[in-house]
Symmetry: C2
């Protein structure tokens, strides 16, 4: 630490000034948090954080997660001040405008130095747990010479009050992620007012109960902050540091109140704050000496990186680490061959079982795959022989027992994918995709290759009844941009879905799988040597008689569609069957391909055991066979018949429409 402690105050004030100015110029934003946490952040960056602004993607950097993402000006200030290429001061001047990378909340896809997209409260923290887990896993795999860094989080009261925090804290405590250090902005203020309005929790007590190290500091006393952060580093447990701060610190008339949380200070209060802070530079200008201090601090990271580069150059593992960090699959990956062999079979298995079979092939070939389940391992079929338990005692394992924590699992997987070096997949029941839906959304928004294994995908779940039977879920997931939703119809489509999901470097995937057995519908004969799911939809059966009907189906209903087509053919009505395992991939095909599958001159009929809303996109004025109500508790085969999913009930509807 080469910075004169007396220089820290002005350095912190530079964060305050930039934050005030940017929010004021944008006429929207959150000045309170950056001003309140400026001192803590200054200590973190000057004495603890390992980073090199010249190499924002250096794999052994510490990860810094601003979980309280609304305080984005704190992150942008730090990146600019320490000398990252992005954002520029021009970007900061255009904070929250369409042509600036300085969005209202930090977006990982806009600025390389932003580790993850935050704002939805609690998720930054939970993603940090995943980053810390990925770090320990890679450390165990590649050694401390190549992987040995920390994950630092700044979190607010909201991050700690959200339910997901309990899941993240429990996971980190159980896995003893000692390289995770959370700096809690303990300002006693939420949007609605004093925290006492809605909580009376002893937060340190709760964290201690989950095996965390806890300590506190005066968040405006540089020495005390450094003492607390030092303790956090020294302790082998994950750490929570309560930083007692004044929200909006420096704004003399508004600080300490919720009015400073999410609105510009206004010209008068900014003027007053400048007086208090002794800040005389023009808006968006940082005095040369202060900027030099910050830049000097940023430049120091080059040494650590150079040392790492040297170690990497000497290591025989560095190339493999680099491959994994780049997100490229192993060169020798030949799962396709294994899967092609299955085409000759006639295996009747549930697609959740087919998924396990595919994983048994893939996981030995792709060592960066790290699996898990939210306490449904035996039901989601997510564990393979190659993936031993990843535990506090063995971070080298590849299977995480996430516990009954769907949201925490999903967010952790986002963090793992964003950390890089691993491809996470995790399972739960499809109906509980609801529990982690916003994390699935953040996978998509962040371009994170996370694979969701969502089993028990319809009334085919059977006796557990409507609480556990997804009805609206498949279609609802299709609504999320940049998410590939696969609902495979058999063993082969499941294997193809896995290959496509693992290869989709910037897109998360959801694999929607059955509980019940399904016959194998694809063979070498009807596959034509092609990985047909790659086109999202394809003609599984071509009409024999003159085509009047095209049946569109996914998953378990493709089998039914094949039977319906046969029955129609028996009446002399030609019917194609189109399997549509992935709408998103189908929509990306050219118009000719799409038109060939969905000809204008045929009656199009969709069959899917879920809500029909959405299918009109493909069937137009045709028929939609589905389930626009909640399910019921009974054996699966009873339910399918009860709700009209049978040849006898569907064929007459089609014949009626044709007449």
């Amino acid at each position: 630490m080469s910075i004169d402690p007396s220089r820290l105050g002005p350095m912190a004030n530079a964060i305050r000034a930039l934050s005030m100015d940017a929010v004021q110029a944008a006429n929207s934003g959150h000045p309170g948090m950056p001003m309140g946490m400026a001192d803590v952040a200054t200590v973190l960056y000057s004495q603890f954080l390992k980073f090199d602004p010249a190499a924002p993607k250096w794999s052994d950097r510490d990860r810094f997660v601003l979980s309280a993402g609304h305080g984005s000006m704190l992150a942008y200030s730090l990146l600019y001040l320490t000398g990252y290429a992005s954002p520029t001061i021009e970007d900061i001047r255009k904070f929250r405008q369409i042509d600036s990378v300085c969005a209202g909340h930090p977006e990982n896809f806009l600025i390389p130095g932003v580790e993850c997209t935050t704002g939805p409260l609690g998720q930054g923290f939970a993603m940090a747990v995943g980053m810390a887990l990925a770090e320990r896993h890679l450390n165990a795999t590649f050694g401390a010479d190549l992987v040995d860094h920390r994950t630092w989080v700044i979190a607010g009261d909201g991050c700690l009050m959200e339910g997901i925090n309990h899941e993240a804290v429990g996971l980190a405590g159980t896995l003893k992620l000692g390289h995770l250090n959370v700096l809690w902005d303990d300002n006693k203020i939420t949007i609605d007012g004093d925290t006492a309005l809605s909580t009376s929790e002893d937060i340190l007590g709760r964290y201690a109960a989950s095996g965390w190290h806890v300590t506190s500091c005066d968040g405006h006393d540089f020495a005390d902050i450094a003492r607390a952060l030092g303790e956090a580093v020294a302790d082998p447990r994950p750490s929570l540091v309560a930083c007692r701060t004044v929200i909006g610190k420096g704004a003399p008339n508004k600080q300490g109140s919720h009015s400073v949380h999410g609105s510009p200070l206004g010209a008068d209060e900014i003027a007053a704050a400048r007086g208090v802070l002794g800040w005389t530079a023009a808006p968006f200008e940082v005095p040369a000496e202060i900027l030099a201090d910050w830049r000097g601090l940023g430049a120091r990271g080059a040494a650590a990186r150079a040392a790492w580069e040297q170690r990497a150059a000497a290591s025989d593992k560095a190339a493999e680490l680099a491959r994994r960090m780049a997100g490229d699959l192993p060169a020798g990956e030949d799962a396709a061959q294994a899967f092609a062999a299955w085409l000759d079979g006639a295996q009747k298995v549930a697609t959740r079982k087919a998924s396990e079979m595919a994983l048994e092939v893939l996981t030995p070939l792709v060592p960066e795959m790290v699996g898990g389940s939210a306490d449904l391992t035996g039901s989601n079929n997510t564990k393979t022989k190659a993936t031993g338990p990843l535990t506090a005692a063995d971070y080298g394992g590849r299977y995480v027992y996430y516990g009954i924590r769907e949201f925490g699992m999903a967010a952790a997987m986002n963090g793992m994918a964003l950390h890089g070096g691993v491809i996470p997949y995790g399972g739960t029941f499809l109906v509980f995709a609801d529990y982690c839906r916003n994390a699935i959304r953040l996978s998509a928004l962040q371009h994170a290759r996370v694979i969701y294994v969502l089993t028990h995908d319809s009334i085919g779940l059977g006796e557990d009844g409507p609480t556990h039977q997804p009805v609206e879920h498949v279609m609802s997931l299709r609504m999320i941009p940049n998410l590939n939703v696969f609902r495979p119809a058999d063993l082969i489509e499941t294997a193809e879905a896995w290959q496509l999901a693992v290869a989709a470097k910037h897109t998360p995937s959801a694999l929607i799988l059955t509980r019940q057995n399904l016959p194998q519908l694809r063979t070498a004969a009807n596959s034509g040597g092609e990985m047909r799911s790659a086109r999202g939809a394809y003609r599984l059966v071509a009409a024999t008689a003159a085509r009047r009907v095209v049946l569109l189906a996914t998953g378990s209903e493709v089998e039914l569609a094949v039977k319906v087509a046969a029955a129609l053919e028996g009446r002399g009505i030609g019917a194609d069957v189109v399997s549509m395992p992935c709408w998103e991939l189908f929509d990306a095909q050219d118009a000719a391909y799409r038109a060939d599958l969905l000809p204008a001159d045929a009656l199009k009929v969709s069959i899917e055991a879920g809500v029909t809303l959405g299918w009109q996109k493909y069937v137009g004025e045709g028929l939609t066979i589905g389930l626009d109500r909640f399910g019921a508790s009974a054996p699966a085969e009873v339910l399918f018949d009860h709700f009209g999913f049978s040849v006898d009930k569907i064929v007459p509807q089609i014949v009626d429409r044709l007449n």
Copy 2:
């Protein structure tokens, strides 16, 4: 307590026997929990629970919530044994079959004695918090003579590990809900195996940190159970009782292991268990003496209820309580008149503000409305003058500061609605509907009148950017059966939405509201004295020139549709504008009404600032103008233009299609 303690063992074994038999007959289900918690439940029902099987809906009964809903046979056994009319032993014999009320998980809409639908883990517990809150509120409003009961919960490890538990525990602790007592089935087993696989938490420590009373007992020692439950009743704080149990207790070879959690025991193990338990009766038969003990216990509740009836007869508040509990609105409710007066105006307000204006009218008229927000009170505009804070110091208040706990809030509202006597509404940003989506689903499944106030409903949110801009949310909510999704276009439609939501006794509603101001589109002239939103969609503007186009829009895009129609008319192209605030209500209209709005001979064009998937239902082969990607950070008006929501960008697309 008049039951000989030596009789409790056989009584508990009746629960075990029925549970084993029913799961075995169904060949699916969860015997482990009912067998493990049979002793605790027997003590609860015999010594603590206030209930009268002859009056399952008696308003002052204790509420019993089986949060670990997979153990449904525990609930069914207790209801049958204590003498409720439903379920019958025939229902239990047909456990998990289509013609039985004994579904895989307990469903409140199938059995009057089931307080709420459980199974999605953590939510039963969180609903119980809402029930306990409703009880205290009604106690403060009507006095202890009429309202003075407890809420009892049986919860498993899953309920405690889920994130929502943190929110529920925090809310109950802050609100000091001392009438809430949770019996935790502390069996150290989850589906994946020993709880140590995924958690190392000191659970009692965590609860104590949130202001709960905590105690433990041997869950198989009747006296110790009674001691602990007595402590819970005596303590003024909410209580957690850790009941140390053996899962599947009584099954000699499987008890204590996760193999007994979710599968039938099998004939051999059942035979062995019968030996251990000394149970010789035929399957589904309960020896007369044991059944008599249970029935005698059930009959005792009549006295408490008679005493209550007497107090009610003497009270001048009983009629009002009865009205509220019946879910009927006040007779004098005349909000419509107040709202009608607004038709003469031309008020330009955000619909979130319009919602506040409507609430200022409604909340004084409907005293059972209890509002709140997940820490966005000033943004959701949910607080009114009539709704003072509901706090531990004043349960008579009508506004809950739920804190940053969306899922906990939604589940609590479900519990409040199911308790009866209150109509809960609560706000968050629409994008965070994701955080509580499964609770919204449970509102719908349970027929609970819960009103979700979901503001900041599109890119109109502006600068906060894509994490906070809903894109897929409105359509995704429309996918949930039995949920009315309102996206009003102006002040008038907002007021109508509120009236319809409050009147929908068995259906939850989601009100989707803007951050930004919208002009008033409806006047007395174009309303025809009708509450037009009641039909779900209506023709706001009729074409002047020959109609070639019908524009369909909702919310903030109706204003744009009106402008587009004017521009089309300017080119001699006749265009209707149809406002569609509530698809569900529109779909319930007769075919003639629907066909009149959606004529086959016009080009139909939808305009909505969200995903287009789904709109094909109404526009057929027409045009869908929407946003099939994530948003961006910028001022709202910039974003609407950037993403194509302008007259200049839409009109040419329509003209192109017409040509």
